[in-house]
Amino acid sequence: MSANVAAASKAAPSSGETPAISVKDLRKCFGDHEVLKGISLEAHKGDVISILGSSGSGKSTLLRCINLLEIPDSGEVRVDGELIKMKQGRDGHQIPADTRQVERIRANLAMVFQSFNLWSHMTVLENLVAAPTHVLKRPRAECLEQAEALLKRVGIWERRNYYPPHMSGGQQQRAAIARALAMNPKVMLFDEPTSALDPELVGEVLRVMRSLAEEGRTMLVVTHEMGFARDVSSKVMFLHKGEVDSVGEPKEMFARPPTPQFKQFIANFNK
């Protein structure tokens, strides 16, 4: 792990600046099943937080509640100190009070999905400029220039005029990361970015993510990549049955698992 990441994550809390993301007591039910049972989380600028947990532990739901792809039942989400306003809906569940605010906040929280979700009817380049031109209203020429630079950075510039179905999973996911970067986001949300990839393609995506972490980007990463969690992230959060089981500095967590559940979890991975 690079030194500046560790420094940033250590320096941030003490400096007292507003956290990039702050989640308090988040709860979410799907029917009778309570997926999130009061989760709190704070991510400061430059933090790379790996969110681990076995399937069904609520880690993806947590991420999706932050950008309101799922509407939490209660609890609060702040982005850069700004509270996402909620109101009571007609069916008793809370709903976002201000759609404009949600859209504005989402534009600052670029997401990378497990199944890429590149827009299949657009070329890679069109995928990269769609949101910056239509959401951020930036000039198209400028967006195109940035898009080409980003594609060079993730190593798929030659594929810029390809349609997503014509690329390998690893290339698609790198394009999706470039699409997220094109928004100049304050925080990047990764929802199991390597889980849908063939094993030999995982490396190329992780390399891109590692380089983003090294340049000090704020990232929340839901992942099953233990190597990434241990070596790249500045903080590891382990969810178990919808609750935060343990949080800590990654080296420490992996060397001395603080709870039996986490110990069990990493033991299963090392098998």
Binding site: E103, H134, E158, H166, M167
Partner: protein
């Protein structure tokens, strides 16, 4: 084989082609407008709108177009208020307008179902990505949902348009001398059904062939992402080292 008779019949029926195309064009154009309205009403989430569209589809998809055409042309004129209405009567006393109205109302029922299915078939992930990037509902619809749904709807829509081409033949029963009406008149005059109906059938076939080709071309143009990539060999080239 009486070649001259074939030729003269062909020519007579062909002269009625513009009228057939006129019914066809206005029928599907107004039908598309109504179908768009119905689809919007159905998708809007209002219970009343949903009940209305369901009832509409039930009635216009469930009964023969011929019955609808007769009801509009012969049926509605029985009502005094229709005959005295300055707006309705000029439309409903004219068989041409009646045919167009019947076809538009009928095809709208089918098309609204086609569009509803296409909208529902847009992959959730595509829409979620648009949401996650802060697109407003309108932008999402314009850039992602609509382009994908249109591509999904196109094959079924082209079939419906072809069905409508054939349905224009019904106009002959309300005195319109389009291709079928003309063919029937020649048949009655000459008692040579085989030759006359073969001529008409061939023209309908060729007409539908060109419509099908046109839609195939549009479909091809709109779906480069579903074809093999431009240079297949490029795909196996080693990927340059990242960064």
């Amino acid at each position: 084989m009486d070649f001259d008779f074939y030729l003269s019949t062909m020519w007579s029926v062909l002269k009625a082609l513009p009228l057939t195309l006129e019914i066809w064009f206005f029928g599907i154009a107004f039908g598309l407008v109504i179908a768009t309205g119905l689809t919007w009403l159905r998708a809007s989430g209002y219970k009343l709108g949903e009940y209305f569209t369901r009832a509409y589809v039930f009635v216009f998809r469930g009964s023969p177009l011929l019955v609808q055409l007769y009801l509009i042309y012969f049926g509605l004129s029985q009502f005094d208020f229709v005959r005295h209405s300055p707006i309705l009567w000029p439309i409903l006393r004219d068989p041409m307008y009646c045919t167009i109205v019947a076809m538009a109302l009928n095809t709208a029922a089918y098309e609204s179902e086609i569009f509803r299915g296409a909208l529902r078939a847009v992959p959730v992930g595509q829409i979620e990505a648009a949401k996650a990037f802060g697109m407003s509902a309108f932008t999402r619809f314009r850039l992602v949902t609509l382009p994908i749904a249109l591509r999904l709807a196109l094959p079924a829509y082209s079939t419906e348009i072809i069905l409508m081409t054939k349905a224009t033949a019904l106009a002959s029963v309300v005195t319109i001398m389009e291709m079928m009406g003309t063919a029937q008149k020649i048949q009655h005059d000459t008692f040579r059904p085989i030759e006359v109906l073969t001529c008409a059938g061939v023209i309908y076939l060729l007409l539908n062939l060109s419509i099908a080709r046109l839609f195939a071309w549009v479909e091809y143009r709109l779906s480069p992402h579903l074809r093999p990539p431009p240079e297949q060999s490029q795909l196996v080239k080693p990927i340059p080292e990242v960064l």
